[in-house]
Symmetry: C2
Subunit: 349 residues, 2 copies
Amino acid sequence: MEPNPGITAPERKVMKVLNGETIAPPPIWIMRQAGRYLPEYRETRATAKGFLDLCYTPDLAVEVTLQPIRRYGLDASILFSDILVLPDALKCGVRFVEGEGPRLDPIDADGIGKLDPSGMHEHLAPVYETVGRLRRELPPETTLLGFCGAPWTVATYMIAGRGTPDQAPARLFGYREPDAFLKLLDLLADMSADYLIRQIEAGADAVQVFDSWSGVLDEACFEAYCIRPMKRIADKVRAVKPGAKIIGFPKGAGMLYRSYRQNTGVDALGLDWTVPLSFAAELQKDGPIQGNLDPLRVVAGRKSIKDGVDRILDVLANGPLIFNLGHGITPQADPEDVGYLVDYVRGTA
Amino acid sequence: MEPNPGITAPERKVMKVLNGETIAPPPIWIMRQAGRYLPEYRETRATAKGFLDLCYTPDLAVEVTLQPIRRYGLDASILFSDILVLPDALKCGVRFVEGEGPRLDPIDADGIGKLDPSGMHEHLAPVYETVGRLRRELPPETTLLGFCGAPWTVATYMIAGRGTPDQAPARLFGYREPDAFLKLLDLLADMSADYLIRQIEAGADAVQVFDSWSGVLDEACFEAYCIRPMKRIADKVRAVKPGAKIIGFPKGAGMLYRSYRQNTGVDALGLDWTVPLSFAAELQKDGPIQGNLDPLRVVAGRKSIKDGVDRILDVLANGPLIFNLGHGITPQADPEDVGYLVDYVRGTA
């Protein structure tokens, strides 16, 4: 794939879809495409002192971000970083324990009152540098996506001090201390908006907000914890960057995907793999969608990839679609099969 | 609550709702109501050698099943047992490790071919005895529910040998070895039907099928793993017990709840707490529903119980509703607050 210097941002395929166009075949990128399934990623990762070091060292972050683009020529590149850089900027003791996932110093209502975001941009300067370098080094036809974690999902880690299967600590905290919890979500929403604005200023074409744990909430909590903060982020970003394109990914939102788009104002919906395609088609009538192949189909091999892609394209290819997995690719995926997936979606397999 | 010997099975409140009647206030029972949140349960549990021993000893199983009925006068009693008694009857090495959950000897395609259900009724005779004794000892107005795990959910444990956060082992196995996996689901469906028929013969008024892990599947897998086996169970049960009432609980089915009822023939849908109430109301137009308070609202205390119950009753009390939690009650719940929940739903708090 030759870079085409004549391409401008609005002409990038993913941006066209975000603007409501239908493109055939659909553009494709893969959540967590810079990840452990790639040997070149594991090699670069091994040179970093730790996972956060990888995120905060532009040389390394740029390198791992570009690796899947070089290998597969994907239509979008997403900044390599982590959703926990915001609590890290808040000095919440974020650390990554090999084989155990993230750990933080759990926060309570008292601690929430003391959080100070004033140093965030200084702390996150390496991320902005990474974004700028990526935009210069990526092929011009490749969309560059910035991202952040959604306030609810980030808050679940801050309250529990770690990942949990059902986010019970944060859900309980929200029921017991609603004022403090909403204050935390507002703080994270404002920081997220500022963070995304800086990423856009540094060169991101569009941004995605990952609400990986929105599927464990009842309707009232989903509205308070997921919809309201996402609207706050979208409004703040667009107040500074009118027309900024935002993909919302409230994983597991189920029936609530529709009200999520209607009430937050996100441009596109990231759909997880449990969303039935008939419902996805209905959502697509209201605007672009992104998704939603089960990541385990990639691990299972080419027959299950083909079956899954066929089903999705049959139902969704005639509307604005960004092809993607329904969640991040897993370390068990074979890079050759990922190549097959990309080719198969593009009709060149 | 005085036993009323004049009450016959169809006059029990939960049975009336299962027959499509609207009852105000709605009848209430609580998933996992015989459980660790009750001190009397913990006391009885401590007298058993192990968890399976508790399930297979009628004296103990009857006692723990009756405990929440004595305490709260709930409208339904559910047999105390476990969804893994079927793999245990298949000699899959089921054991419960304190603090770690269930363990089984993981099964592969070869092992699936060798499974032999012929001894199941002998193995499960103590369960049938428990059901019979319960029906005789329960107040006549109390509905007695039998239950089993759904084939998909039971299979996830058999393939992985344990519980996993996302059921990746079984999902992968299903993609890679579809023939063997469907054979396993058929075997479990047939055993489940036979098991439920015996429970009904022993005295169960109705049965519930728990598909606790149906929320991790894409649409095609949901149809193959959840809907098809549930229809097979319902058809087989009703061939022997015409008119048998079946509650299906495909936790996390989201948008697919509707097609689940339409295509399986279950009488009532158990709704998890993430189902939006507006969608629950639509589902209720097609038949009875059961649910769906977030169990953590009970842990969080009376204000969050009241808020959650008010929302549910506002939207769903005018149709056939069995009030319940949206998943099993957790050990952290305060028995006094559970009493408040029951009273509040009944308007006597």
